[in-house]
Each structure stands twice: as C-alpha cells, then as structure tokens.
Amino acid sequence: MASGSVIDPIHQFQIIKIVELGQPGGIELAFTNSAAFMFGIVALVFFFLTFATRGRTLVPGRLQSMAELSYEFVASTVRGSAGNEGMKFFPLVFSLFIFVLTANMVGMIPYAFTVTSHLIVTAALALVVILTVIIYGFVRHGTHFLHLFVPSGVPAFLLPFMVVIEVISFLSRPISLSLRLFANMLAGHIAMKVFAGFIVMMTASGVVGWFGAVLPLAMVVALTALEFLVAALQAYVFAVLTCIYLNDALHPGH
C-alpha cells in the first residue's frame, strides 16, 4: 500500500483495532479489521450459497452450478481420500475449504485484508483439523489409534526409531499445514507489493522510468495470475491434506 512516498510491503498485514474491548485478565481484546473480514467471509459464503440455491431448480443456473460444483468438488475429494466413511467430516472439510478459499480470494482484492496471511489464523485452523483427528481417533479406536505410530512389517530393532519418526511426522503435520498456507499467502502478497513498489519508484524517476516500469508492471500482472492460482491451490491442498489426516483417524494402522 503506497501511502505517500513510502512503500511498505508489510503494511498490508497490519492489524487495525476498530473497537477496543478492554483487557480482561490482562489480555488485549479488540474487534479488528481481521475479525471484520472473517465475518465478511462467513456472510459472503453463506449468502452466496443460499442465494445461488434459492430457486432449487432442477436444471441449475450459473450460480447454482457454482454452488453445486463446490459441493461436489469437496465431496469427491473427501470420498477419494477418506472413503465413504469420511463423509461424516464433510461439513468440516467443506467449511475449512470454503473459508480458506474465500479468505485467499478476498485477499486478492486490492486494499483488502488477507485473513489467512496471519500465522495464528492458519495455526488455529490446522489445530482444528489435528484435534479432530486425535479426538475422533481415540474415541473411535481407543488405544488402537496408537497403531498409527507403529508401522507394520518393520524389524524389531528399527521399531523404536520408526515410532519416533512417525510421532515427529505426525506432530509436524499441523505445523506444516499452517505454515504452508500462511507463508504462501504472505510471500505472494509481499512479492506483489515489492514489484508494485518498483513501478512507483521507477515512475518517480522521470520519463525513462516510465518505460522501465513496464517490466515490473508485466511482472505484477503475471504474479497476480499466479497468486490467484496459489490462492485456489492452497485451499485445495489444505482440504486434501485435511482429508488424508482424517483418513488416519478413520483407519489407523498401515
């Protein structure tokens, strides 16, 4: 966001307090721009889905097709990765997918805030997934769920190492799940802002700069397209990995 002559690629991630809610128990609470965008996303998703399906027509129109496509896309992803049994988690996976996708896409609007570019948000979403996996795994399978960490067909002397590796890989799942989304959105937005900053810098230095600015402009256009791809892809990857982790909860033991 070029404010005056300063181009600060980090400024777009600034949390701005809209309404201060005091400090209950020494914890700062406030209604922020991030919260506003979260509720905006929820409202957008809900009103789109209900508005698109208001006709409940047999032959779907454009909007209804979009709503049905998103439904069937997530449903087939869940079925493909976690089987028919995984369909009980379908609302969760759909909510995660549609939330991340909408947050990423809304973030592509100029001057909009990208909710998913904050580590705490993606970490919370990843925690939702991994807690669901752990809690459901133990409720459903009891201690049998721990077989997840004991690969079969491994020689006894290797087993301790394998268990350690499996536990570490399991624990790194929420970390990588949250960091991937966070860093992708963060890095993409910073890169776009930096290249956009180059345009401003070059045009500031005179007529020659105007011609020179064509190059970063082309770069920004290409990056914007790439970022739209990344926004959709990261939402998809988040959903697919969620399904795979849920599959572990449904069918522990290799």
């Binding site: 300063v6 980090i10 919260a35 889905l49 709503a67 609302p91 580590l119 500031a204």
Partner: protein
C-alpha cells in the same frame, strides 16, 4: 503501531536534496534496534487473543451455517435431481419394455394370422378336393348304375333279338322249303334244323 515503518520498508526518496543521487533514490530502511516481533504483524503476539477469539466465533458460525443450512440444501437439490434422473431412466426403460412387448405381440399376431390364413387355405383346398372327390365318386357310381342298366337292357334286347331271329329263321326256313319242294315241312323238324345251324 500507527505509522508502520516495517524493517524491510522500501523508501523512495523523492529527490530530497540531502540524499545521495548515487543511491538512485532507493534505500532500504534499517530496522529499528528495538525491533521485537511487533514490527511484523503476523508475529505480533498482542493481536493473537483477539484474532483467535473472532476466528473461533466466525468459524463456528460458518460451520453451523454450512452443516445445518447450506450443505443439506445443496444435498437435497442434488439428491432430487439424482432421483429424478433415475426415475426418468426407469420410466424410459419401462416404456422401452412396453414397446418391445407391443412389437412382440404384433409379431405373434402376425405369425398367428399367417398360420391361420394358411390353415384356412389348406382346409378350403382339402374341403374342395374332398367335395370334388365325392361328387366324382357319386357320378361314377351313377354312371356305373346306368351302365349296368344299359348292359342289362342290351342283353335283354339281344336275347329278345336272338329269340326273334330263331322265330324268323324257322319261318323263313319253312317258307323256303315250301317254295323249293312245295311241301310244308313239319314245324318240329324245321325248328330242330334251325337250332342246329344257330349252334353250329
């Protein structure tokens, strides 16, 4: 954090006379010495509680809205369409079976009609043949009767004629003898002579 001067802020010096022109108007802001996380919003711990709070509320609302309202609605629409398509396919299959049955019935009727026609033709032919045969037979019998009657009549006529011939021959022989010898022979002798001649 009011006016953010992020560590990696790129500052465009708007041809301020103090700046060296060799720097081509671009300089990277050196991070402040007290930079401790709060300069980078995503790592700013102070914003975490409020973000978490609102995320939990927003995501819970989204989950409830999706699982209670939006998704069942879309699922119903898809299911209805699925059912409708299945029904239509079933209906089409039923109609097809019906038309096939109708075609089969038509074929059967055609075949039976053909067989019937054939039967009628055969029957008629047989009847006609039998009738003709009967008529021919009765005609033949009739003819045979007539023939037999005719033969009987012929035989009678012949016998009668033969009897007449003997009488005439006896009379003629008597007359001839009378004429030749002038004497009338005895009728018994003449008859005897005639019989011998006829037999001879």
């Amino acid at each position: 954090m009011s006016e953010p001067h992020g560590p990696a802020a790129i500052i465009v010096a708007q041809a301020s006379p103090g700046t060296l022109p060799a720097a081509s108007g671009v300089e990277i802001a050196v991070p402040a010495a007290e930079a401790h996380g709060s300069n980078f919003p995503p790592f700013d711990v102070h914003t975490f509680p409020s973000q978490l709070l609102w995320l939990v509320i927003a995501f819970a609302a989204l989950y409830l809205l999706m699982s209670r309202v939006a998704l069942p609605r879309i699922a119903t629409i898809l299911e209805e369409r699925h059912d409708r398509i299945a029904d239509d396919i079933e209906e089409a299959g039923k109609l097809k079976a019906e038309s096939e049955a109708a075609a089969e019935a038509y074929e059967t009727a055609l075949a039976s009609a053909r067989a019937k026609a054939h039967g009628i033709a055969t029957e008629t032919r047989d009847t006609l043949a039998a009738e003709a045969e009967t008529r021919r037979k009765s005609l033949e019998a009739d003819l045979n009767v007539k023939l037999a009657a005719a033969e009987v009549q012929i035989a009678a006529t012949k016998t009668a004629a033969m009897a007449n011939v003997r009488g005439i021959a006896v009379e003629a022989a008597g007359t001839i003898v009378n004429t030749l010898i002038g004497a009338t022979p005895a009728p018994g002798a003449v008859e005897e002579a005639v019989d011998t001649a006829i037999k001879g």
